[in-house]
Symmetry: C2
Subunit: 144 residues, 2 copies
DNA sequence: AATGTTATGTTATATTATATCATCATTTAA
DNA sequence: TTAAATGATGATATAATATAACATAACATT
């Protein structure tokens, strides 16, 4: 995980963005803005606005991703800063698997072009169950 | 647009679902649940719950799609009931273009399989500007 | 120091979504 | 043909997510 923070043409990482990024990286799983807020309160942050500003900045930097299907944010799982990529999210354990290539975005950009559509953002999310959670299901299943 | 309402293994279309579906089809563009509510008030519907229930049902029937990036719902643009498909959404005019093939979902299912990930839902959304809106930009642009 | 700019803090509010429980309608079966 | 069960609707309240608006602080440039 190189020095992505210094990538050009990207907003700089401010104090609050740093705090939020550290939390998301440490957790390694998606957190909602309010879950971030709860974990950042000890640092004196009390307002959603503050968290949302930091999250927005980190998204712009490409250091985290917003998951539209969860209304949550997760730190990027790829080595280099990149454009949109597909992300699979386990609805049981909230683990994420980020696709390491740009095949799907590439296809979508191509298709958009044929429609004369100018892409500003792509969202590709897969909800389901990871292998671990399929093997070991949630304890509270009704065994009927 | 055939008799998709009678598709098997799918919830039936109740009175409220019918009302909501008619609105979404007539509008032809994404509406939020509360925008639907506003338009359905004349029919005596007053509560968000009622609208969300109808929307959920229609999604299950495959007659409408939920757009995660807009928190909105739009009537399906394909001829036959289908699985997930990619949807481009113009952020200016809110027009939508639904991809008419399943190439991307197919690829994603395949990839998920290689990760031993069981897919329950796919979200593929493209935000940007349609050709019309690129030609004729919003009037309130600062011409500086 | 004065100025402009960016980041942060603070308060309030808007928007989106669900929980809960009561009532009504429709089906099923005794 | 009623009683029970099921499914749909209605009604109220509240939870969860997100932004608006404005004030202050930090920082850079001159
Ligand atoms: Zn990433
Ligand atoms: Zn899992
Ligand atoms: Zn469709
Ligand atoms: Zn448009």
């Amino acid at each position: 995980m190189a020095d992505r923070e210094k990538h050009p043409n990207t907003p700089r990482i401010t104090k609050n963005a740093r705090l939020v990024l550290d939390i998301l990286r440490q957790v390694g799983q998606p957190l909602t803005a309010y879950e971030v807020l709860d974990r950042i309160r000890p640092q004196g942050i009390t307002a959603p606005t503050t968290v949302y500003r930091a999250l927005e900045r980190l998204v712009e930097c490409g250091l985290i991703h917003r998951l539209e299907t969860l209304n949550a944010f997760v730190s990027c799982g790829r080595e280099e800063v990149h454009g949109p990529s597909a992300i699979a999210i386990c609805t049981d354990c909230h683990g994420v698997i980020e696709m390491q290539n740009d095949a799907v975005p590439g296809y979508l950009y191509g298709w958009a072009e044929t429609k004369d559509f100018t892409v500003t953002s792509l969202t590709i999310e897969i909800l389901g169950q990871c292998s671990q959670c399929r093997i070991k299901p949630e304890p509270n299943v009704d065994s009927e």
